[in-house]
Structures are given as structure tokens and as C-alpha cells.
Subunit: 318 residues, 6 copies
């Protein structure tokens, strides 16, 4: 079965794919005819597709996030590849395919990511800080297992948020060893909390964000996380004036660094500065790695990456 | 007794003033001599002053925020007026002067301002919103009676914050009548809460801000007020997911309108838009009025006003 | 008859509408066929429509800004509603429909708006200022009766400009009472004159701006109004060096506040500052109100509003 | 007699200079003593000076813009040269020195500059354009003979404005020959009119701007010149809707190119684009030439030049 | 034969044109049909075209940059003209048409442009500077004969780069005469070298840039030219620390003036300032001239020009 | 002996210090008297000082970068500490003090830093890359042993540049292990080369930059390093078109990320992105660490740090 990022123009193929998006449209013919405008995906990437002969039954059968078997042919439309679907059916149990095999996912198993995060929480020595972090991790609950870290910006896939946290924890540990003036408890706590409200800021399924929640739009994940820390302190009987509460709220609120990037205050303690730059380093490098991973093998340049000054990355060969 | 904004070059005068700032310095003479570098103020304005013959006793006698009787002469230094102090002594009970007569203050009595604010709280029909507002007003306590609204930007005087709120409530009432689509409860609540954490963000005495608090620098009054609303909800048994909690937190967080002005989110409900523009209108007009009020009568242009594109205002005569 | 903002997908309907835009296009079929690409509107909103079976007679019959009777069916195309027109004919006298019932219009009758503006002119006490304002109001003539205040930004409908002026006059009156240091004559005059050249800057019909005039593009309504005041002074025998001429020209030229928003000078008299913030307050609140008024009832968010940091407004339910 | 830009540290000298600025100040001694804080200038540059032994008669004798004979010694203060004045007296008729020999001036005689400008007016073929230009040139009157082009930015010396115009006329003539699509009448007229209101925008004496006029601050020379063209048209019986009036007002209003540089509209006819870039080229090159001319011979770098991205210019030796 | 910029809607015509772009696409019909989406051009402009009846032979026959004879009809699609091709064939020798007649080209013959540039090189008096310039001109070789100066920004046609250099040399000569403080050798050398690496930065054919080279994207023509000067110095035995090498590298690196426009350093010698403003003047005026030349005769406004603040230019008639 | 950062107001002390800056000035007395305006430093920090009784011999004796023994008293001037020097003499051999003990220096010995860098060069596997790096390291020579990394921004002390490189190499090694898609040779080479031209861009002594070199101002260290790589390739017989030359020049030129920060191109290969963010992370964290290290023990906030959004850092106590 051909993976999507291996398809070339004129290829005829049969395979299983996920209907990531599906819309019923009509041609300009007289009389107009119904057709499906589709986005297919698998773990390797995604491609747009058209199905021109939609029957009334088809309209009741096919919906987004369903697995299908497809016979198709690859064509070029406006310099981009597009599939013309010849035959399509829903998958059957005997096909032996699993939904989660068709979505992009972090390269480490979610259960292992969560294990690492939980271990990092336990490694926080200061009991007050640990308590506050535990409360917030509990509050977000199992969503941490599968949420992406963003809609499209970076780590936009299944368990992307947990993967982002784990990679940052590795960098944080390294830096705390290299620079002992940093408080390792605050670094760990800051890394775990900085995006902890994202699963409530965005609405996602299978690692794909469909939209932002009302609360997400009106408050944003920075202020939401700050509110959660207030809630955690009250529920845990920790003084709201505690320097630990203050430090964690400051780290969370300042982690976008600048007002125009959404932070109402700028980093003003050492660990807040560190957190912002660890976050940038991990996010930017992951954007590069993901863009290189999912580009067609034949290309030399990735698409433009908004988070990298809207530049494309060149796959240099030495 | 001559008010400070009436002093002219070469005037000799005697009067009571407040030592707003006082610093002990030394001349470049050999041997160097001690002198005081002073800022005098009264309700009409302020002026810098020098006292060249400081005795050891003087050093133990004079401190900022003390009332003094002064005999002096007005000189010009770098195109600005400056007082050369000839004699100085602390005020005595029999002088019959009161500290609060020497500071700039809102033109309405603090007790009346607080009364108006309390009445506005009572006028909020929605019980949940009223409860949340009451909690925050109680939390800030008697500081609301005398705090300024800012360090220098606008309403920077005794009871300036309460005065700002009261004037905005008047504008808010007018607009709610003019445009009934606005929710009057949210407008009133937003006006009262938008700067409610300023007395904890800044450290002030007699309406003069000396500096920002640590919490003020690390969180800012927007996020602080959002945290207070969380606290108010928990303590009042109001669901944190309530649309009223969400609306109030949104109004508070968005009231600076833009990220570069400190808001992590932009106004996205009608009342948040209204609040920002009511706040601007009141603050900017007050800057103009205060600058015109405190400028020397002989001048045609006020000093440059940072909040008005750093422009001076011309006192036009028609 | 169904209003446009009440139409839902799959609705079949018959009704009278205005052809706001109409373009003859051709399908990609072989041979290609003619069709109409149409925008229909009524006072409640607008919707795009297609008419696939265009006859040669139709091409001579239907033109923009004509009233038509339509039988159609609502479909979804690219997530937006679109009408497929089944039958179309021009309206007849016996249909008893009037063009002006189908366009968006200020909520107050134009004749009443003009009356209010004229009254405000009369209320200007200073005869020189009153004369200058009268000259400019006369110069713009009856266009003030029906012109919108902008192409799309705010008050973009029939009599929108007069409505904007009237609302601002109400706010201006309130503020002059609240803050007596403002000169009420200058505030009234500034409100009436600030956009007075817009009807010459833009070309509009029925409250809909089709484009900017050559003079509008090359000079802009700020410099045009300044030139008009020069003309008014010369024709009325008023000294061009008069402080009243200067003040009015300054208010008009500075009312966009910043260079990047089109003002060659920044507000530097109290009334110019006031005018800019009254203008902002009215324009921004009207954008919100209009967006909420014209959005489909089923939606929770308005479209993005360029004048409000390109944010959508949420219809919060308390 | 030593020119100011030839003075070196420790030089003792006697010579005639102009008192460009003079302020009476007092030392910190007890009792304080009066001294003069002075800026001396001649045609080669300027230098600050102190006169420590001011007598009561001196206070009545010396004022800015007076010529004096000075005996002094050059010292270094904060890495800059400064004169300690030993003796000072006003010049006498028998000294045979003339005020105008001591001020910086354009390198061409004012009378010749004016002649060239008048000739260029005559060379305008279109009678309507010529009439409008003549009116404005007449209106500014003899001030064109000696006004500088700016306070400090460029051509800030006696007859600097006329010199700027003449040099631009030379460039304009060259470009109209190189690119015949440009209308030479509009180019000439635009060059003469673009800064024509500057002598009313600024208050200057002997080529030195002391401040901006009230009208200059409230309207700016762009809108003022636009108003003048309106006035010129009315007084000359030219239709205000004439394309010539429109073109000249557009060129004047757009010549700063961007809103943030003070233009309410951007250049939108060929000659307006040309004018802006001719103006830039002449102003920037003159800044460089003047900075190189007036720097001390021993230096390699000029001071920072605000109009050149605040960079210093290096005197490269090949 | 009709030139492209003379075509009007509904015209039927026969003529020779260049296939500037050609893409094979498919209609939405069932079954879909192949068609060509084409851009035709001649020296007067370009127009999009469709050819709906593509045969298998056609697919092997027609490719971009081929000359064709076309019978077509002009239609309107989305307010823009578009050709429906009725018949198409490749040109034959007996048609007597030449490829270069169909592309836009500088108004002076390339061979004459090159001659002028070579003469300017010879006119450089300083042997070291002349040697460095010669090396770089030799390095770019015959590409200087035909390369455009940019992809779309300015001088985007055959020999556009050489034409840009020649016009700048004329302006440079004029200015060096007007202002003798400028070093004429550096001005000439700077003009010739400033864009000398563009032919390696971009990939062009017949004056049309298809894309940027990898080296062009990763280094840019400023740093590339600086590297070439290093290479020139080493190969010519010139000391890399020479002030001439430094001056030329500085001029080249600073000629975009600002960091955000791509210059790592700002102009800091007189000739670098001059070069930047000569470059601007020539480029901006050429944008205007080219836009006016290629617009349809019936239009009053050119398209928006990105390099001129994205404004359109109005063809004013006096 | 008291370290400078331990001095308190009113302390009287005797000790050895370095004269970092010394300027001869004159008092305003009549007659004026000579005095020294001095900056003293040791490894712990710096402080300003005055010496009021300068003798003619003193003027010949004391110069910057000389070691002195001082008896002084600490005073407060404008809220900052300042030393009044009572006695001063040059150090003698028998004092047993060494210049290098009095300057701030990297916390690792220069010889060890150089060893680490040399080892990293050897660890580059690709021979072409290694050769290019070796050439540039050789070219900068022994200056790498002691140069600071910047004038004031970060690592502004003895061997600061080498220390910056070594720390970045540690981070680079960690990241290459964490993310194997990065090319470790390019990361190492990029880290060593990115600031390699700084010792030629700046003029420094004992880790203190006095000014930028002419070449540094006119070219900048990015373009200089790019030129050096060109030179390295030519001298080593490596093809200038080699992808390795291109990659290294790209990494060096793009490492400031944005045009406004001095990069003519933006990072467009994975290793260039990585290098920029490693550089930021190390520089920003070092700014924080150095600011915390050198602040007076009694303070809670560091001075404002320009490289950190001009914010001060708070020394939080948990």
C-alpha cells in the first residue's frame, strides 16, 4: 500500500486512508452534479481528492474521521498533486486496519510520554511547587495523553503536547546541570505548566485541532493556566501570596516573551527567561524536523513555515 | 502664601510646602559641602529647590513627605524655575497646616467617590456578577479611597483611581442608554474591576506612586484581577466555567486592547470593546485637563504628554 | 417573504430582492454556457447567487441595483450559503415594492438626522465658527442626506454618515457637560466637519460606495476639508489667520490621530483630542452593533472585523 | 583669527565671534556666583563657552545674536572642546566685522538663488500652474531669501531653503531630459512649492530656527501649502476642481511619502513620485556634505546624523 | 496583428504570440477533459488564455517559451480579459517571426548598454578599483547582456539589469559634477557592482525570472557580491585590507540601506549614501514609467505597485 | 581588601584597583581646579570615583588600564555609590598584584577554552568543513584566547568569546544527540565560525572593548566571516561553489535571524535555524547569570538588561 507522501503524478493505486475532511459540493454543469471534495491522510502526510460520482447512498455513508479503502489515480491540479477517486468504500473489520495507524503521532508512545512527565513531577523537590503542578496535571486529565501542542504551528499531531513537554524536560535537565544557578524545580514546573491549559483552549480529536474553544479565545492558555494555579493554591491551602505561586504564574504568563506574542508581562526571573528560550528552541527545531519529514522525497525545499519567518527550509546535501 | 504654579523668576517668598523628594548631595568644592536637592510641592504643582547650607542637625530633621515652612528666592536654571532656599524649618502645630492640603487630589471627595462606586455595585442586577464585583472591591479595601490610577500617566493623584472609575461610570451609563444592545451590568462591572488590582500593583502614599510592587511587575494588574475573579468565584461558590466569570475575566484581560499595550487577548465581546474605548476616552481627556490645570499661567503650551503621542497641548484662545 | 439573514441551507423560497452585483460568466463546459454570478441583498444582509440558464434576453434585462422577484433554493458552497436561482423576473409596479426597502439604512430617518445636524449648527454660539460650518455643510449639500460614512469600515449604509455625526453630537454634548473645560462650539463644529468631505472622497449610490473619487485618492477627506475651510473663510471674509480657522483646520487634519492612520499632524488642542476619541468610540461601537445585527441568528461569532484588530465578536449569553 | 573648527585643546586665542546662545547661570559655590553659559559660532562651526566672572554690567550688555571680541583658552570637557572666556567685549564699528560673515550660509548668494528660482517659475509653460506658483512665491515673500530649510535636519543655515530648491531644480531638469514621460512643469512647480510654507511653519533669524510657529505645529507645512494653493486658485479665478490645482496639492501633500513621515496621502502621480525621490536625494547628500564640511579636520567620523539612520559618516581615504 | 495590450472584450483575432506559461489541467466534467491553462505574451504585455480541446498530440507539441499562431476570442472572466483559443499551431520558419520580438526588453540595444558599461569601467581612474570591477564584470560574463534586474519589482525584462546600470551611471555622472565632494570612481564602481551578482542569484531566460537559485536564496546578491570582491582581490594580488576593497564591499553590502531591506550594514561613507539614493530614484521612476507604458490605454490607474507603497499611479491629464 | 561589589555608603577603605577609565576635568570654581573623573574596577564589578586634588605630576602619572592603590571613602551621588579618593599611587612590584586579577574573566581558563575549541575542530568529520574552520580559527589567531564576545551585550569580559563558543558547543552536542537529523559537523563548524570575525570587528584590551574597528563598522562580523570563508576556500583549493562553502556562509550570514538584527538572509537550512536558537539561548542565559553575579548583594533587582527587552531580573527567593 502506497503512503501518501510517496504518491507521484499519474500513479494508480489502491489503499486504506483516513477521510480527514469531506464536503459535498456541486459541479457547474446543467444540471449540476454532486461530488465530494475530500482531504485524505495517513501517518505520512495528506492529499486532496475528488470523488465525482456521488450517489445518494454515498451521502449517508462517508463522513470525516472515517477509514476508507480507495482506488484512485494521481493528477496534477494547480501544480499540486490531487487524487481522482475511482472507487471508495468504508473499511471492514476484516481489513484489519486501525484508525490510529493513519494519523500523525509523536514518535514516542503516549503512555511513555505521560510516564516521563509524571516522573518529572515527582522529581520536583519543593513540596508546594510539586502540589501545584500535580493539581494542574490532574485537572487537564487524560487529554494530556493525546492533545497536539498547536493547531498548525508546531507539534500539531497526536500526543504532540506531551512530546513537546518531554523534549523540553530533557533540554531543561541538561541546562540545569550546565548552569547550576537555575532552580531545577522551577524549570521542571514551568515546562510542565506553560502549555497545560492548551487542551482546554483548543478542541481536538485524534491530534487534529478543529477550532479554539470560546474560553480559549476569550482568555488564552496563558491566563487560563494562571487562573488554574490560583485555583490549585486555594484548593491545596497554599497562600496565594506565596513566592512559589507568584513564580509559577509569572513563568506561565511571560513564556511568550513579548506583548505582541501574547504575554502580558515579560520574563523577569532567571527561570522564566530560560523557559522561553527552551520553548523556542524545541518548537522551532521541531517545525524544521516535521517539515523535512513530511515533504515529498523529490522536493528540495519544504513549504513556507510561518513560525520560521515564513521561510522554506532547504534540504542541503553535503 | 504663593502657590507653586504662580511663582515667577526673581520672586522672594515665604510659605508652607511639602518635601516631596529630598536627597543629600555634596558640592564639587574643596572641601566638598553638603547640600539638599529637593522637590517641593503643593496642590497646585511642584518645583525643584536647593538648600546650600546644610547643618548636621538638618540632616536629622528633614525627610520626604514632611511639611516645612520655607523662605526662598526663585531663580532660573536651564530654562526652568528653581528655588534657592534661604531658611527652612519643620511646621509646628500652631502653623495650622494639614498635610493633605498640600497634595494634588481628585476634585471630588474620596468618600463621595466611594459612595458612588458602592451604589454602582448595588445597581448591578445580576446577582452573580454583583457578588464577584463586591468580593474584589472588598479585597482591595480602603486603598480604593486614596490610590492614584497610575504613576505618572493619568489620574496620578490622591483618589485618582476612584475618580477615574466614577467618571467612567458616568460615561458608561450614558452609552448604555444611547445603545441598549450593551449589557449595563457588564459595563458597570467591567469599569469597576478593570483597574481594581492597581493598588496591589503599585506602592503609593498620599496619591504618589513610589514604585511597582514585585507582584505588580511579575504579574501586572490585568492578570492579578483575573486571578482575583477566580478567587472570588471559588470563595462565593460560583462555577468557574460560568459565562459571567468568563466575561468579567475577558473584559479585564482585554482592556488594554493590544498585546503591545499589555493585553494577552483582544476585546471580543461588545462590552469589552466598549470598556476599552470608555477607558481611553476618560484617561486621555483627563491627561489634557490635568496638564492644562497645572501649567504655569504664562505658558501657552503644556509639557509633552507621553500618553498623547508625546505631544504638548496648546491652550488655544478664540 | 424570507429575509436574507433568515435563509437556511436547503430552503426553497420566493421573494423580492435587490441585484447588488451581477456579472455574466461562462462555465468550463464544452461548449461553455453563460451564467450570472450575482449578489442579492435586502435590508437584513446579502448572499451570493448563481443563475445557470441565462438566455440572450436575460442579458439585456438584468443589471445591478435593479429589483427582482426570485424563486430559489439555498445550497452550501465552500461552507457558505449560496442561492441557486430557479426563476427570476424584474419587479412590476403591481408588486408594490420600493427600492429603498431593500437597502441597509441608518435606524433614524435621514430627514430627522439632517434636522438634528442643522440644529447643532445653529447651537454654535461663535458666529465665525458657525459661518464656517454652515458654508461646508452647504457645500456638501444633499449628499449628507444619504451618504454612508465609509466603504466597509463602519456606518457603511444609507445615511450612515449623518447617523455617525448625530450619535457623535450626542456624545459630545454629554462630555461637554461632564467636562466644562471643553469648548462646546469647537466640539460641535469638529464633529460636523471631521468627515464632511467624505461625500466628495467616495462615489456612492443608495448608501453603497463603489469606489473612491480621483480627488479622494489624491487628497483624502482630511486635506479636502481643510481646503474647504480655507475656501469658506475667503468667501465669508474671515481672516485666514484667525484662530478659529486654525482650530477647525487642526481638528479636521488631526482627527485620525496618527500619521500612519492618515493625519499629517497629531491632536494638540483639547478639543482635537476629544474629537478623535469620540470618533473612535462611536465608530468602534457601531462596528460591533452592526456586526451583531447582521449575523445569522444561528451563529455565535460575527465575521472578523478589520477595524477591531481583525477580531470576531462573540455574542455572549449570560 | 582662528576659525572655530580649527581650534584645538589648550589653544589660546583672540577673535570675533557671534553669541549664538547665552544663558545666565549660577555656580554651586556659597555664595553662588553668576556665570554665562554660551554658544559661540562663526561660519565654520560652533563651540560652547563659559564666562565665569560676570559683572552686573555684563548682564545688561551681552545677548544672543550679538557680535563679540573674545580672548579665550580652549579646554576639554566631557571629551568635547569648550572655551574658557578670559575677556569679552561687544564689537565696535571700527572692528569692521559684519554679522553675516559669522553665520553659516548657502554657498551661493541668496540673490542668485532667488534669481534662479524666479527664472524657473517663468520657465513653467502652463499658465495656470505658473500663476499658482507665482502666487505662493509672492506670499512667502522675502523670507525665501534667507530662511533655512529645517531646524537641524538638513540645509539648516542662511538661505538653506532657496539653496535646496535650486539644487533640486538642477536635478529635476536633468531627470526630465533623461525621462521625457515626466511633465517638466509639474516637476518645477512641485519643487518650488513643496517646502514653500516652511518660512511660516518655523520662526528663524539669520538662518537659525528658534522654534516652530503655532500654525506650523497645528497644521504643518504640507497642509499649509495645500491651503495656500486653494487661496491662490480662488484669488486667481482658477477653478478649484482644476486638474492642475489637484496635481499641485497632491504633490505637496504626498512629498513626505509615508504617513509616519507626515504625508496624509502617498504619491500617486508620476511627478509626485519623482519629487519625493529628488527631495530625498538632495537632502540626504547635503546632510553628508555639510557633516563632512563642519567636522574637525582631525576626526575620521562625523557626528551621528539623525536623517541617515542615525549613523556617522566615515571620511574614507583611498 | 493585434498587440496584447490593445485587445478588447469580444474581439476575435489571429496572431503570433509567445507561450509564456502552459499547464495541462482537467475540467470538472464527468468524464473530466484535458485543457491548457496558458499565459500568452508579446512585447506589449500578457494575457491569460484557455484552450479547451486538447488532443494527445497537443500535449506533446506545446511548451512554454514556444512561439505559436493563435486564433482566439477575448472574453471577460472575473473582471479581467481572457482569451478563449479556437485554433493554435506552432510557428513555422516561413512565418518569419523571431522569439525576441515577443518579449519585453530594455529600450536600448543590449550591445549598446554593455558598451556604455565597459566604457564606464575604463573611465575609473584608480587602477585598483578598476581591476576589482573588471574582475566582477568578467565573472558575470554574457549574462549581463540579457538579465533582468528583478523578478517583478523593477526593470523585469530583457537586459533590464544593464539598462538599470546605464541609467544610474548617467545620474551618477550628473551628481558627481553637481557635487564634487563625491569620489567619481567609487560612484561608478558602486553602480556597476551593486547588483552584479543578481544573474547568479536568479534563474532567468529571455528576461523572465523563473525562480531564485539556491545560492541566491541562501546568501543573497549583496553577500555574494562581497564574496566576489574578496575573490577579485585575491586573484588580482590586491591586499584584502585595502581601503578600496573595504569601500567597495561596504557600498555593495549597504546599498539596500536598512536591515529589513536586506543590508547587514547601513551606508556610512558618502558614496554609499549616494548610491542607495541613486538606486532608489532610478528604480522607483522606472516602476512608474513601466506601469504607465504597459497599462491598457483605456485605463486611468495602473495596477498597484508593490515597490511604491502598494499604490496605483494615476495617469493625470492636464 | 574590599571588593567593589561589597562597598557600602560611608565605607572608608584602602585597596588595589584598576583604572578602567580616567578623564581630566575642571571644576566650576574660580579659578577652576583640575580633577580626575575615574572608573575603578576589579573582578567583582566597577564604580565611579573622583579625585579632587590633582597635581601636575598626577597628570603625568595616572592613565587608564593602570593598577593603583587607593585610600577612599564611599559616598552617594544621584542614588548611586561613588568613591571620593583621598590618596592614590601607582602599584609597585613589591605590592605583588597582577593586572589580570582585576578584570572580569570567563570562569574557565582561556587555555582550556582554546583546547576545547581545538578539539571540537578535530571532531569535525568532513575534511572540507574542517579545513575551512581551521583556516578561520588560524586567521583570528591568539585573539580568540582573550577577546570578549561583545562590547556590553553579553560575555563582555576576558575570554568571553571563547567561553561563549565552548558553552554553545556543549549545547550543540546535546542537541545533535537528541535530534539526529541535525548534521553535527555543520553545527560544530557554525558555532565556531558564527562570531569568529568579532576580534577584527572590535578593538579590545583585557576583555574590554573600547570601540569598533572601521572595518567592523563598514562590514560587520557577519559579512567579514563570509569573506574569510571565501578566502579560506581559495587558499585551500576548495571549490567556491561547494555546498559546504555555501552552507557555512549561509549559517554565518543568517545567525542573527532577522534583517533588523543584521542578517541579510534568514536561516533556511536546519543547522542555521539550530545555530540561531542555540546562540540566543546561551547569550540570554549568560546575560541573566552575569547580571545576577555582579549586582550588589543587598539589591533584589538587577539593572535593566537591554538584550532582555530592557527588563530587570528579580532575584526570587523561594
Amino acid at each position: 500500500m502506497t503512503e501518501i507522501n510517496k504518491l507521484n503524478s499519474q500513479d494508480e493505486f489502491v489503499g486504506f486512508y483516513l477521510l480527514k475532511e469531506l464536503e459535498l459540493k456541486q459541479t457547474n454543469n446543467t444540471p449540476p452534479k454532486d461530488y465530494f471534495d475530500i482531504v485524505l491522510c495517513d501517518a505520512s502526510g495528506q492529499i486532496s481528492a475528488k470523488y465525482w460520482d456521488v450517489s445518494p447512498t454515498d451521502k449517508e455513508t462517508f463522513f470525516p474521521m472515517g477509514l476508507v479503502k480507495i482506488q484512485g489515480i494521481v493528477q496534477t491540479y494547480r501544480e499540486r498533486l490531487q487524487v481522482k477517486i475511482i472507487r471508495i468504500r468504508k473499511t471492514l473489520p476484516e481489513d484489519g486496519v486501525t484508525l490510529t495507524d493513519f494519523i500523525r503521532s509523536a514518535p514516542i508512545r503516549p503512555v511513555d510520554l505521560i510516564h516521563t512527565i509524571n516522573q518529572a513531577v515527582k522529581d520536583i523537590n519543593d513540596p508546594e511547587i510539586r502540589t501545584l503542578v500535580e493539581y494542574c496535571v490532574d485537572k487537564v486529565g487524560e487529554k494530556l495523553m493525546h492533545y497536539p501542542a498547536a493547531k498548525t504551528h508546531h507539534h500539531a499531531y497526536y500526543a504532540g503536547l506531551a512530546y513537546h513537554i518531554v523534549r523540553m524536560l530533557e533540554i531543561g535537565d541538561f541546562l540545569c546541570k550546565q548552569r547550576p544557578f537555575l532552580n531545577a524545580d522551577l524549570i521542571r514546573a514551568g515546562i510542565i505548566l506553560h502549555d497545560i491549559a492548551k487542551p482546554e483552549e483548543m478542541i481536538a480529536q485524534l491530534g487534529i485541532v478543529s477550532e479554539y474553544s470560546v474560553q480559549g479565545k476569550l482568555l488564552g492558555h496563558l491566563a487560563m493556566a494562571s487562573n488554574w494555579i490560583t485555583e490549585a493554591a486555594i484548593h491545596s491551602g497554599i497562600d496565594m501570596q506565596s513566592s512559589r505561586v507568584l513564580a509559577l504564574q509569572h513563568i506561565v504568563l511571560s513564556h511568550h516573551n513579548l506583548g505582541e506574542w501574547g504575554s502580558p508581562v515579560q520574563p523577569q526571573i532567571a527561570e522564566a527567561v530560560a523557559l522561553h528560550y527552551i520553548d523556542s528552541l524545541d518548537a522551532k527545531l521541531q517545525m524544521v524536523e516535521d517539515a523535512l519529514d513530511t515533504m515529498p522525497v523529490s522536493e528540495e525545499w519544504t513549504p513556507f513555515i510561518r513560525g520560521l519567518e515564513n521561510k522554506a527550509i532547504y534540504k542541503i546535501k553535503l
